[in-house]
Subunit: 441 residues, 2 copies
């Protein structure tokens, strides 16, 4: 649909840290968040870690006037924790559950049970169609030895795939959430380079908030400084990203974050800082003639950069593959040992002379305890084998898709004219689209 | 991208029944399939149930000349079994795993382990962008009492969401696969009504194949007639669907299926029949003036039909919800009983007078066996509880999305003029698009 208006939207994003009975001051904080939202009346509110549907329903009740349209995305065992509140009608929703999301036996980390995903809502702003995405990626518990890195890279890969493929019909794209990635982390670069999404913190000239746009800061009383090491002051892991389309240009007029404490309140809204961005949309201005050559060089540079990022991502996924293979091997070996032990025990019990002349017969108590232990080992290793096989399939699948994408991009690169000083403006081979590395841009 | 050419593609789809060591004559059938494909040189080949990657790699080797581009989609424990071979370069791929797919403890049905999904490949045919989808839905093991129906309806719902949202940028859409649904089944109606996909069997004037386009027939030697009851001759559950776009019209020139036996071969390619469709694409012809009123009435009828189908689907999902809730309740109750039994046993062992004057002390063997049994019950019911909770979340999520979609469609319906004989051609309210019930069409 063609757009003729200029419009602006205020977007809010917050990781609510809403684990009932575990997160500190949870009900009070939700009340504060509800008050803020009904007062501020943002156009689009993107929340993460709303783990309890009851809390969502309370917010829904409170925001019935300011935000009549909302959706709660359900996934995993307790999640996905993603919610969207909106002044504009939500016409359609879609949820993509990431194929990898940590390990169920790491219950204290809880990510697996949350069923991390990306939720999409299609809304109309005036005559424009906006695709709005809210997501939350796997947490990073230890930056030095981050065993979840391959999972997070695959999540970033799937996130960019989902956004890229579902947003072709949209006039504008808005993405908000807790990516659990620093600005220059691999997954973040992959996401931005592939989709062409722009970071509202980097794009705005009008920023008011924490130093360097940080969203997890040492000054927040819910944050222990130990978690942040080696980053003394804090890190930036929550984002509001956006892009326009061939029909609509999008700009970030201003951006702000909360700064730890909140005036007149004893504690902040969450352990994360809240983000607010004011985005302006206007009809696309066609580029001036003579811009083509420059744009082509830029695009060629972008494709080359994307190939490098993808190569790096493939390496990280391969590390994950190696790790998952080793874990599956260990599970298999342990399972086989459990089976062997069970057979040996049964053999000793059935054929007494195998007990090698021990004076005592095989004691019954030990027999049953040992048998139960063997069965427990067999069951556990069987379940682990299944789980690791599924992890391997997902990692291999992502690696295959990345390899195919690299091939396609390299073919595109071959279609660009060489950046030699004497090269004239050559036409690319037929069927090639030199400036179309991102089909949506 | 605008298209100026007329082009045609031949599309092939087959459920290969490729379970190594279990499916009859598996290697021979793969050899036959390879021979057929390299001889026939279809543009696009969509295969399902290629469960072993080795078989895919063998086919890849054999088809290196006729189909230089291919992709194997990985998912679940052994699957997803989906593969695509193509004459044209595959530029991009994406996989969506269905959130519901049967039960892991129904191992003899195997669907859960297959990780059913829909795979997408973006290819260029001349100057046209084609989004090609291959999928395989959960099998129907008993039509009279189909306990998997809610899962299959949710799969159909997710399939239409995936196709609708990812195909906005495509000139043409081609979908092939084993839907495990009869032509008038709820999921099939939902898929076709929502996406606007057309069934090549119904669209072609030139059909050569089994009666009524059946793809699982009694004449196939791999099919036991018992499976087909109450359908004597067979059923139609495999499809090639297609649609054009605002830029491209698409037609089915001819369609054919295999007919059970294959000349000069001792057995057929698979237990399913293979489908071939010849699809022609040409630039979109704009509708003549005065067509608007008729089209609006048609669209209003279509939206009303869609609301009815969605209401039916919601009912089915609610049946699934009720069932999953009951199962989770049973698992919880059994778990609590296991725990109570364990406590009772420990109490009896610790406090002998609780044995109520029995002459024998608590026998050690029984004690350990009973304790092991209690632990097994606790572990199993805990795992089942987790699984059913995830099932509930997915069913609730789908139901929420359907409810939201019904609301949006009903709002659209209110925008249509009433089909009264005296009604003049009224303009719909501002901001409404009467003919855009499917945003991609």
């Amino acid at each position: 649909m063609a757009n003729t208006d200029t419009a602006s939207v205020r977007v809010f994003s917050l990781n609510c840290w809403g684990i009932r009975y575990l997160s500190k001051h949870c009900p009070q904080r939700y009340a504060m968040i509800g008050d803020l939202l009904s007062k501020e009346e943002h156009d689009i509110v993107l929340l993460q870690e709303v783990w309890s549907e009851k809390d969502f329903l309370n917010l829904k009740k409170k925001l019935a006037c300011s935000h009549p349209h909302c959706h709660y995305f359900k996934s995993g065992v307790i999640g996905s924790g993603l919610a969207i509140f909106c002044k504009h009608r939500i016409h359609d929703t879609f949820l993509y559950r990431y194929s990898l999301n940590g390990y169920p036996y790491m219950a204290h980390h809880g990510d697996w049970f949350g069923g991390k995903a990306v939720g999409m809502a299609v809304i109309k702003i005036g005559s424009m169609t906006a695709n709005v995405y809210v997501t939350h990626l796997h947490a990073e518990y230890c930056r030095e030895k981050d065993s979840y890195l391959p999972h997070r890279v695959v999540q970033a890969w799937e996130l960019q795939q989902f956004i890229r493929h579902t947003s072709a019909g949209a006039d504008v794209v808005i993405v908000g959430g807790d990516l659990n990635m620093h600005p220059q982390d691999l997954g973040n670069r992959l996401l931005r380079a592939y989709t062409g999404l722009r970071d509202s913190y980097l794009e705005t000239a009008n920023f008011d908030g924490c130093e360097d746009g940080m969203t997890l800061i040492a000054d927040n009383p819910f944050i222990s400084k130990k978690e942040l090491v080696p980053f003394e002051k804090g890190i930036r892991i929550d984002y509001i990203l956006f892009k326009g389309s061939s029909k609509t240009d999008m700009h970030c007029d201003s951006m702000s974050t909360t700064k730890g404490s909140i005036p007149d309140h004893p504690f902040p809204y969450s352990d994360h800082e809240a983000l607010t961005a004011e985005l302006r949309m206007e009809p696309h201005t066609p580029t001036e003639p003579g811009h083509d050559k420059k744009s082509m060089d830029q695009d060629s540079g972008k494709v080359a950069e994307l190939v490098d990022i993808l190569t790096e991502a493939r390496t990280e996924v391969k590390v994950g593959l190696h790790c998952a293979e080793r874990m599956r091997y260990t599970a298999t070996r342990t399972g086989i040992m459990g089976l062997a032990l069970l057979f040996l025990e049964l053999a000793i019990a059935a054929v007494p002379w195998l007990a090698l002349g021990a004076e005592q017969p095989f004691p019954r108590t030990s027999f049953y305890l040992l048998a139960a232990l063997c069965c427990a080992i067999l069951l556990t290793t069987f379940l682990l084998y299944i789980f690791y096989t599924m992890e391997l399939k997902s990692l291999q699948g992502a690696e295959d898709q990345m390899r195919l994408a690299v091939g396609s991009l390299q073919e595109k690169l071959r279609g660009f004219p060489l950046p030699q000083p004497y090269s004239t403006h050559r036409k690319p081979p037929e069927g090639q689209e030199p400036s179309a590395f991102d089909p949506e841009e």
